[in-house]
């Protein structure tokens, strides 16, 4: 083959336009990407508006409209024909209406079922025929709670609130039982006092008529005491710290004593059984005291001896809108960073800019640093404005402002890393958006924003802790609402996500740049 040239190739003279030290040029290239991103972002006012105004508006609406975290459960009560003995409709309303919204009373179970199936009501409660009577007979009557829930959370609520309601009804029944027993005990106590006095008379000489009268009293008192013992609630406390068990035992002993007295009187062996009579009198005295205590004890104390006392050492929990505000802030930061990052590289690659970047004297690190810097500043400004808006809504920052700022920056960097990673593995911008949406869904379910992390099985926590938002929510709640520094794992987790994703993005995008 012929020699193509005999001239020694020489490089053309250096461009006169490019000057400065290599470091200065390196920094100018980083700035090129930075300024480009900032300029592009500031030309999208709708984006800025939606980033800052959107979440604020949502929070304001949420705060203004949120009433209760419990679901409203529309309920039909099915009562037996003729009602429930001992319970008026108002009593039922008072008991059931605490947790369920009563729409209708009916005695037609089929109509209730039709309403439930049509979705016109959420719950049907079928009440038993004779609650009090059945309980007194030792039966266990049932309240049938039916629902058509498709939401597992709502079903959980129905089951829980049904349980609470039955507890309340049981307590009401016990209260009623205790009150009835107290009324009875008041009468019996008078008779106990009389009988105890009469037993004292037996030590002396009595006429036959008197002895017969005493024998009659004892004979009347014994079944009364036995009846009271049977009607006492199965368990309960008394005002002096003793319990119904002791009253029941005392009644038993007194009854046994009275039986001995009755036998002595029948067998005309009073003198021979003076000790037994004295003993019975002493038991009656004890029972008299126990009955006095019983009748003076509030029925509520008898059936619910333990009372709950709640105290929040902070003085009270926050309103829901304030409680969720740190999560909204974390969600906004993460989603914005992931969306911007997800489009950052795939867009450039699709428009062919990678080819221009490869020809120019720039490298991947300069490209990523410039873009990271631009996006970080933009998102940090948006977050600052949103934070200002949150403050106006009354959301506090009890912790250190510097720690808060550091957490914002770290959350942005970690989220950008996830976004850029999405960009690096996406072939089209629609694919990148799709992946960004999946990360948003993952964050809503697994970040602890709405559902506590403790609700998940241990393996799922790997997903939770790989999401920047999980760390962001925990960190912002600690700093803003509790005034304490975030846990160490918040800082370490975000740092690890930021470093690992940056490394992966450099590796993957570097490879793509070579193939541009």
């Amino acid at each position: 083959m012929a020699e193509i040239t005999d001239a020694t190739p020489r490089r053309a003279s250096t461009s006169t336009m490019v000057e400065g030290s290599p470091l200065e040029r390196w920094l100018i290239r980083v700035r090129a990407y930075f300024r480009k991103e900032i300029n592009e972002l500031r030309r999208q006012p709708m984006l800025i508006l939606s980033l800052i105004g959107g979440p604020l508006l949502v929070l304001v609406l949420f705060g203004a409209s949120f009433v209760n975290s419990n679901p409203v459960l529309r309920t039909v009560i099915v009562v037996p024909e003729g009602g429930i003995p001992g319970f008026s409709e108002q009593d039922i309303r008072n008991l059931v209406g605490l947790n369920f919204t009563i729409e209708e009373f009916t005695s037609d179970p089929e109509r209730a079922d039709m309403l439930l199936r049509a979705g016109d009501v959420d719950v049907v409660q079928v009440l038993p025929q004779d609650v009090v009577g059945a309980a007194a007979r030792g039966e266990r009557p049932q309240i049938l709670v039916r629902s058509n829930a498709i939401n597992p959370m709502v079903e959980g609520w129905v089951q829980y609130l049904g349980y609470v309601e039955v507890n309340e009804i049981n307590k009401a029944l016990l209260r009623q039982q205790a009150a009835t027993a107290q009324q009875e005990a008041t009468t019996i106590r008078v008779k106990v006092v009389d009988t105890r006095g009469q037993l004292g008379e037996l030590e002396g000489t009595l006429t036959g008529a008197r002895r017969a009268e005493i024998q009659q009293n004892v004979a009347e008192l014994r079944p009364l005491l036995a009846g009271l013992e049977a009607r006492l609630p199965s368990d309960g406390a008394l005002a002096d710290g003793t319990g119904l068990g002791e009253l029941r035992a005392g009644i038993g002993r007194a009854n046994n004593g009275l039986a001995a007295v009755e036998a002595a009187l029948s067998e005309d062996a009073v003198q021979a059984r003076v000790d037994q009579i004295a003993n019975a009198a002493a038991e009656l005295e004890r029972v008299e005291g126990l009955l006095e205590t019983f009748t003076n004890t509030e029925p509520d104390l008898i059936v619910s001896p333990i009372e709950q006392r709640y105290e929040n050492i902070r003085g009270g929990a926050y309103q829901a809108v304030i409680y969720y505000a740190p999560g909204v802030l974390a969600l906004l930061i993460q989603h914005t960073a992931i969306t911007l990052g997800a489009l950052a590289l795939v867009r450039e690659r699709m428009m062919g800019a990678f080819e221009v970047f490869r020809v120019a004297p720039v490298n991947m690190i300069q490209l990523l640093l410039g873009k990271y810097l631009g996006y970080t500043i933009f998102i940090a400004l948006a977050a600052a404005l949103l934070f200002g808006g949150l403050r106006l809504l009354g959301v506090p920052l009890l912790g250190s402002l510097w720690e808060f700022a550091a957490l914002v920056v770290l959350l942005i960097l970690a989220s950008l890393g996830v976004g850029f990673l999405i960009s690096a593995v996406s072939k089209t911008d629609s694919q990148a958006i799709q992946l960004a949406m999946i990360s948003l869904l993952l964050s809503i379910f697994f970040s602890g924003f709405f559902i506590a992390l403790e609700s998940f099985a241990r393996p799922a926590l790997a997903v939770s802790f790989s999401l920047p938002m999980t760390h962001g929510v925990a960190g912002f709640q600690a700093l803003m609402l509790r005034g304490i520094s975030p846990e160490w794992w918040v800082w370490v987790g975000l740092s690890l996500i930021a470093v690992i994703t940056f490394g992966l993005v450099v590796f993957l995008t570097g490879r793509q740049l070579k193939q541009a």
Partner: protein, 345 residues
């Protein structure tokens, strides 16, 4: 004197002077993507301060050739030097001397004309003060001064192309690659682009321009014709014409149709005349093929009109203007004849 090697016909053509150096030297470069795809045995040089136009149909390997020279692809074999260095090992300093206009519009729709140009300039490490100064010159050069605040998305196709040219020139590159810069733009703007390119060439820059528009060959200092990854010919535009036709054609019209056959016989006996052809459908016109029409036209007239010889009266004679489209087609046909089995790689 140095030469540009034409691999298809294996013939050296003088194209440069002793004072010029070669900015690109490609010797037997191959890059094969698959059967029939890639570039094959590519040998050429591009002298400094000249415009090389690479012409060929879509998919013939023009962009691949540019990408090889830019270091975006590495040759599988052969030797390729650009600015005295293998493109695969370009340093930032080498890249600072290269400008590139890709086929696609890669400037940003949400940035203004100024911001787009500034972005590209900053990628090359230019200071802002220098960018401002350079921007004035270049926007005026490409006639975009009035549109400097307009967004990229608001520019017409022609303005976008001009903006890309301005961006590629911001850092004052010594070597500019333009990949089909005139594709899809109107003939007036196309002419202006070539005007720009020739101004740049006159300022001492070297340009490597690819195009599918054959008529643009006339604006280049050298034209390379590509087909199916192979360089069929490289020459000056004029040299390319001569090479395609085997010389230059004198178009001649005689006064007397009866003497057409005699005139053809006389000319065929004359040594400088390579071939004489009757123009189909005419009984007075002849096409006479000679090495150089300008040089041999007076001689040819003298021979025919010699009163002591044939004394044939010639009504008119001039060099036949041949379009570059015809030249291109002729070169393609010659290439087909040389490789009738369709061997293209």
């Amino acid at each position: 004197m140095r030469g540009v090697l034409c691999p298809a016909v294996r013939r050296e053509v003088s194209v440069t002077t002793a004072t010029q150096r070669n900015v690109i030297e490609s010797n037997d470069v191959n890059l094969v993507f698959g059967p029939g795809a890639g570039v094959f045995n590519q040998s050429y040089v591009l002298p400094e301060g000249t415009i090389m136009g690479m012409i060929g149909p879509s998919g013939c390997g023009k962009t691949t050739t540019v990408r090889l020279a830019l270091g975006l692809f590495a040759p599988q074999n052969g030797l390729l030097n650009v600015l005295g260095r293998k493109p695969a090992v370009f340093r930032p300093l080498d890249r600072e001397q290269i400008g590139y206009i890709p086929q696609q519009f890669v400037l940003y729709p949400n940035l203004t004309v100024e911001e787009n140009a500034e972005f590209v300039a900053s990628l090359y490490g230019m200071r802002r003060a220098r960018i401002k100064q350079r921007m004035e010159e270049l926007l005026a050069f490409v006639d975009l001064t009035d549109a400097r605040k307009r967004l990229g998305s608001q520019l017409s196709g022609g303005m976008q192309r001009r903006l890309m040219l301005a961006g590629a020139l911001m850092h004052d590159p010594a070597l500019l690659f333009a990949d089909e810069p005139t594709a899809g733009i109107d003939p007036v703007l196309r002419g202006r682009f070539w005007e720009f390119f020739r101004k740049l060439r006159d300022e001492g820059r070297t340009l490597f321009v690819t195009t599918q528009v054959v008529s643009e060959a006339v604006y280049c200092d050298f034209v390379a014709v590509m087909r199916k990854g192979r360089l069929l010919a490289i020459d000056t535009p004029h040299g390319l014409k001569k090479r395609a036709l085997g010389g230059e054609i004198i178009h001649m019209t005689l006064e007397d149709p009866a003497r057409l056959k005699e005139a053809a016989a006389v000319l065929e006996r004359y040594e400088p005349v390579k071939k004489v052809l009757r123009v189909p459908g005419s009984d007075t016109e002849l096409h006479v093929l000679v090495e150089d029409a300008g040089e041999w036209l007076p001689e040819v007239l003298n021979i025919l009109e010699n009163p002591d010889g044939p004394a044939i009266v010639v009504a008119s004679a001039e060099e036949l203007p041949v379009s570059y489209d015809d030249v291109f087609i002729r070169i393609m046909e010659q290439s087909e004849q040389e490789a009738p089995d369709g061997r293209d790689n």
